[in-house]
Chain length 214, copies 2
DNA sequence: TAGATTGTTAATCGATTAACAATC
DNA sequence: TAGATTGTTAATCGATTAACAATC
């Protein structure tokens, strides 16, 4: 077992990007990469790249750079991508279907164990290799299968009560696609929220800003 | 015309959250709010809230707080939400359909003018009040309609050539749902990328992290 | 007036960048 | 050895927090 290094959240948020680039380089057969090269490709400074990689110990070699495959693997380990956290998906509308497909195609630490919806038009359909189940079977499913994460692709108004149920069933990790702020209501949960509305508003600012300044 | 204040990007990224909360309060008929109250609801410090609001001039009143509606409107103006930037959507798969619906329901500065796909199964379908058009008509559509933004819900591998085309048609703003980094290739563009993969990997880290530390 | 709460300055904290000795 | 590039320390920068006088 390795000692567990402290890595700040701002570094963690950059790891996926490093990982993607290293994965791509590895696939193209590139063996080594310098902090300078990587920084240019990613739009960072070489200094920052070295600082980041130093958080988790010396994988570089002076005068040579970093071994692409080794570094990629190490970052993958830190992120925990070599695992299969069982998760369930709530809501098999357009967004839910997109996310289910995404998880199936971009395997990275999670395994989709069940999909739930409460629309009769959708229940029973095939999706990402699973059959969409009725929401009424959620409880028994969770007690039997013990998923550790729930992906919420349901309307904002349905999230509060859904989380109540899921929390009581022991689920403490959420990938949230609604604008309901789960983490403000439960303190011992991990929540990653994809804020489409916030993203759109920020984008709107930047577009408008550019127009008025030119 | 008002003087244009400088607002740092970290503040801008918080504005949509303020906006959402203020909108909700306004809808519930609440007239005033203090920085303390708001900070508790949002999980920030009161000091930060005041600093943020100070970037764009004194909308508060000592001993009273902030007028909810006025503050909401001002933030909306800063974000440029009262506009209708014409945009087009590329890709009407599950994700594209979810985004089209989202834009239709959460009007915030953008107006969907055209939707394009290259699958015969999807072309001609109705979506968000529009008929899905074939990608072959993209060029003539853009020359006639002059959209200012493109939303990319197409596969990563298709993005590079799509952006080449869109860029040549004068489009400089992108809402990107692929993991292809547009901004590393064009310097004079505004790109907001929703990185589902990165979000999933960060989440994976946090879930794994919690498990090993307990 | 007394109480509340802002606006704003100063202090702190953390993250990024620069620099360079160590070393492959 | 000479050149390249890391690892790491110190300097800088920016963002957050604390404090409090101003004032409604």
């Amino acid at each position: 077992m390795q000692k567990k290094p402290y890595i700040s959240m701002s570094v963690i948020r950059r790891l996926p990007r490093y990982y993607r680039f290293l994965k791509d380089m590895d696939r193209r057969g590139i063996l080594r990469v310098s902090s300078k090269e990587l920084s240019e490709k990613l739009g960072l400074t070489a200094s920052q790249v070295r600082q980041d990689f130093n958080c988790f110990g010396g994988y570089g070699q002076q005068g040579y750079g970093y071994a692409v495959r080794q570094l990629r693997e190490e970052i993958g380990n830190i992120l925990g991508l070599n695992q299969a956290h069982r998760c369930i998906l709530l809501g098999a509308g357009n967004l839910g279907r997109a996310i289910a497909t995404h998880i199936q195609n971009n395997y990275a630490g999670f395994e989709l164990a069940g999909i739930f919806d409460n629309s009769d038009a959708i229940i029973g359909r095939e999706l990402a290799g699973l059959t969409v189940l009725p929401s009424s079977s959620l409880k028994s499913f969770c007690m039997a299968e013990k998923p550790v994460m729930a992906i919420l692709c349901i309307p904002r108004t349905a999230v509060e009560s859904a989380v109540d149920t899921l929390y009581s069933l022991g689920i403490r990790n959420y990938w949230n696609f609604s604008s309901y702020d789960i983490d403000l209501h439960y303190k011992d949960v991990v929540v990653e929220t994809v804020h489409l509305s916030d993203s759109m508003m920020t984008l709107c600012y930047r577009v408008s800003e550019k127009e008025t300044s030119s």
